[in-house]
């Protein structure tokens, strides 16, 4: 059964086909991200809540409040219709419908996650791969939503450059949100717990200046919104649509994304490294 003498040389790894031993976070993440993109394209039904529910909220909220806030008499709309004010909330809602964590649970349960863990890739790329796909998916969905809003007269005041910054901001936020959901998935290894956790994070989207600017909220809501980091992401996105480039708002929005991203990545890498 055991005849090692004749063909042992087949085990020698050909040096021209195998890269050096060091793992490359970016390369590995892109490889796993490419797979996740393929997966998303093959399950288009998973995009349904990402697009439909935020648009539903946009239509309903604008329908309910647009007569209270007519564009001509409402200074905070800066000449646009109420839909322009609501659009950032819908974009952020869309960014929070990522399926990355649920796919991860599926992989953990099916054993493929262990297969990936048994490869010599950087542990961080196990986390970043799917987040990269979430980033791309949110860019595409965000562009489609802004394009649709354009048909209803909503304009991005900051122009093409601002439109791109808006998409990047929302897509980075989608990575953060999905990253935290992945953390729950890694911890719980349960689809039910992961879905439940998204319901815990969900209210944060509504403890924001969702319907009116922060200064016009009731005092308790204003305090809650000020303490809520999502507020600053929403205000940064809103500033790009209504005002143009507002340095302070953008700085705050991107700072929140950067801090949340760093925290999420640190926790995720720790979790994957200690995953038994």
């Amino acid at each position: 059964m055991t005849t090692t003498t004749t063909t042992t040389t087949t085990l020698v790894t050909p040096s021209d086909t195998i890269a050096p031993a060091s793992s490359n976070v970016m390369r590995d993440s892109l490889l796993l991200g490419g797979r996740a993109v393929r997966e998303a394209l093959r399950t288009p039904d998973s995009l349904f809540p990402t697009i439909f529910i935020p648009l539903f909220f946009l239509v309903v909220n604008v329908g309910q409040a647009s007569r209270i806030f007519p564009s001509g008499n409402t200074p905070f709309l800066r000449g646009q219709n109420y839909g322009a004010f609501q659009l950032p909330a819908s974009l952020l809602l869309s960014a929070s419908f990522g399926a990355a964590a649920l796919y991860l649970v599926e992989e953990i349960e099916g054993g493929y996650f262990d297969k990936l863990r048994a490869t010599p890739i950087a542990r961080m790329s196990l986390v970043l791969g799917r987040l990269y796909a979430e980033f791309l998916k949110t860019l595409a969905v965000g562009a489609a939503m802004v394009g649709l809003a354009y048909l209803f007269g909503i304009r991005v005041k900051s122009g093409i450059a601002g439109f791109l910054v808006l998409l990047v901001l929302v897509a980075l936020w989608a990575m953060v949100f999905s990253g935290f959901m992945q953390l729950v998935a890694l911890r719980s290894r349960s689809a039910a717990a992961t879905q439940g956790a998204s319901m815990v994070f969900f209210p944060l989207l509504f403890l924001t200046p969702n319907f009116v600017p922060r200064g016009q909220l009731s005092r308790p809501m204003e305090i809650a919104a000020t303490a809520n980091p999502v507020t600053y992401v929403m205000e940064a996105a809103r500033s790009l649509i209504l005002e143009g480039f507002n340095g302070t708002a953008l700085l705050r929005g991107f700072a929140v994304v950067a801090v949340a991203m760093a925290l999420m990545l640190a926790l995720s890498v720790r979790m994957v490294s200690h995953y038994d």
């Binding site: 059964m1 055991t2 005849t3 090692t4 063909t7 042992t8 087949t10 085990l11 020698v12 790894t13 050909p14 021209d16 086909t17 195998i18 890269a19 050096p20 031993a21 793992s23 590995d28 490889l31 796993l32 797979r35 393929r38 997966e39 093959r42 399950t43 992989e107 099916g110 054993g111 493929y112 996650f113 262990d114 297969k115 990936l116 863990r117 048994a118 490869t119 010599p120 890739i121 200690h274 038994d276």
Partner: protein, 263 residues
């Protein structure tokens, strides 16, 4: 030369009063080029031991070297030298067989053309050429198992770990997997195999160890273990590996009898 050396390997889940000891100090020495069987009843610690040896689980105590690399000190180095096919065929059902093998090859550092060539080579090896561009979710259990086996071989590992590779397969698929294991071993790869099927161990393994309640209770070649039992019990006919297994973990039958009595 040893392909696997484990010394006092232990695994404890939880702490304090909730602590469960799954593996209680396993020592193993598997020679390069062997097919080594690791047998035991359900919950004996087989899979936990495999997961520790393949870097998927931390060791609570002890040391383990696979292909000369300490799995705790240099897990990355160990991963480059081992192939793993776990109990459930760990596959991504939304990818095709070819995509899965190509990705796996690339994760082991291969260039794109090399990965594509290696995927082709392995698809032929496990006779999945015809199904290569179909999504894995449409594969039968046997096809999935063969693809899983192929994915464990992309980087030409020195040591291949197979955790119950034929569980749930029909007899024909089981024979196909046996053939693959023999072929892989003929190419020089050391195979560490866990199984609940004693016939499988008898057919495939050069040597085997039986683990029970987290401890190795018996070790040797299938022939020597059977002869030893025959001599000890003074049996007229040579016992089967089933007899060896039941004798080594004999309390299983006693316990079953005990359960009946309790009823």
């Amino acid at each position: 030369m040893s392909a696997i050396v484990a010394t006092g390997v232990q695994k404890t889940y939880g702490t304090g009063t909730d602590a469960v000891v799954a593996v209680r100090g396993v020592d193993l020495d598997v020679a390069a080029g062997e097919v080594f069987g690791f047998l035991g009843p359900n919950g004996a610690g087989k899979s936990t031991t495999v997961r520790m040896l393949t870097t998927l689980m931390t060791l609570t105590a002890g040391t383990a070297k696979v292909a000369g690399v300490d799995v705790a000190a240099d897990p990355h180095g160990a991963r480059r030298k081992i192939g793993v096919a776990l109990q459930e065929a760990g596959l991504d059902s939304r990818q095709t067989g070819r995509e899965l093998l190509t990705l796996q090859s690339r994760l082991f550092g291969m260039t794109k053309p090399a990965a594509a060539a290696r995927a082709d080579e392995l698809l032929t090896l496990v006779e999945l050429d015809d199904a290569a561009d179909r999504r894995v979710k449409g594969y039968s259990g046997g096809m999935k198992r063969r693809l899983d086996l192929a994915s464990a071989l992309v980087h030409r590992p020195e040591v291949l770990f197979l955790d119950e590779p034929t569980t749930g397969l029909d007899p024909a698929s089981r024979l196909t997997v046996w053939e693959e294991v023999r072929r892989i071993n003929r190419l020089g790869t050391t195979v560490f195999l866990t199984t609940q099927y004693l016939e499988e161990a008898d057919q495939l393994c050069d040597r085997l160890a039986i683990i029970d309640e987290g401890r190795v209770v018996l070790e040797g070649t299938p022939t020597s273990l059977k002869q030893d039992l025959q001599a000890r019990k003074g049996l007229a006919a040579e016992p089967t590996l089933d007899d060896v297994f039941l004798e080594a973990t004999g309390r299983t039958r006693e316990r079953s009898a005990g359960d009946v009595k309790e009823i």
